[in-house]
């Protein structure tokens, strides 16, 4: 079954450390997205990609980088993690060309101490 898989499910990081969140999709969707979800802010778009090799800034890209080395994989990188980046992160895939719905991963809970 087509799916979006995120890893790790939970992560504790130290302030100033590097964190990489991984996402893999088997939907063969062109587009992939990283959102964060915080109480009071809802879901906010960080970075997205139209395909392998492309990354685009979303609404709140500061402090985050993204990497799309292949159709299936999309990573979110926090080079210097800060406590304000404590959140739940969701990866999603979708494809306007295929008129397909968004599919979300199970989320990664990140705590930066």
């Amino acid at each position: 079954e087509a799916a979006v898989t995120q890893s790790p499910r939970n992560k504790v990081a130290v302030t100033g450390g590097k964190v990489t969140l991984s996402c893999n999709q088997t939907n063969n969707h062109n587009n992939m997205y990283w959102y964060r979800q915080d109480t009071g802010h809802g879901l906010r778009l960080i970075h997205y990609s139209y395909g392998a090799g492309s990354t685009e800034k979303g609404d709140i890209p500061d402090g985050y980088k993204a990497s799309r080395p292949s159709q299936e994989n999309f990573s979110l990188i926090l080079e210097l993690a800060t406590p304000s980046q404590t959140s739940v992160y969701f990866c999603a895939s979708g494809d306007r060309r295929a008129n397909s719905d968004y599919t979300f991963g199970s989320g990664t809970r990140l705590l930066v101490i």
């Binding site: 587009n31 997205y33 685009e56 979708g94 306007r96 968004y102 979300f104 199970s106 989320g107």
Partner: protein
């Protein structure tokens, strides 16, 4: 920028009652999708309904595009329907990026 407003923010029902959730958006949308999120869980797509009326199971969504509003009707609610319902739109400007509302938190009491 584009905004998505959902109401009510929270709703408490007795099992068996019907729920009516609203979504209003500030400009035209080429795609509108309703999601369900269980407490501490991920987002599950319920319906895509950019216009007209769609049914699936106990869910009915009606979107009136020119009035920039959509509703989600849940009939005969069950305790397992408890969770957050999110409305998201994809505005027509270029890239496909869903913009989410803040959600309606539904609690169904036994």
């Amino acid at each position: 920028g584009q905004q998505v407003q959902q109401s009510p923010a929270s709703l408490v029902l007795q099992e068996g009652e019907n729920a009516e959730l609203q979504c209003n958006f500030s400009s035209t949308a080429t795609q509108l999708q309703w999601f369900y999120q269980s407490p501490g869980g991920s987002l599950v797509s319920l319906l895509s309904n950019p216009s007209g009326t769609k049914h699936t199971g106990r869910l009915t969504s009606t979107t009136v595009t020119k009035e920039r509003r959509s509703s989600l009707h849940i009939s005969s609610s069950q305790t397992t329907d408890s969770g957050t319902y999110l409305c998201a739109i994809d505005p027509p400007s270029g890239s496909w990026q869903l913009i989410f509302g803040s959600g309606t938190q539904l609690t169904v009491m036994p």
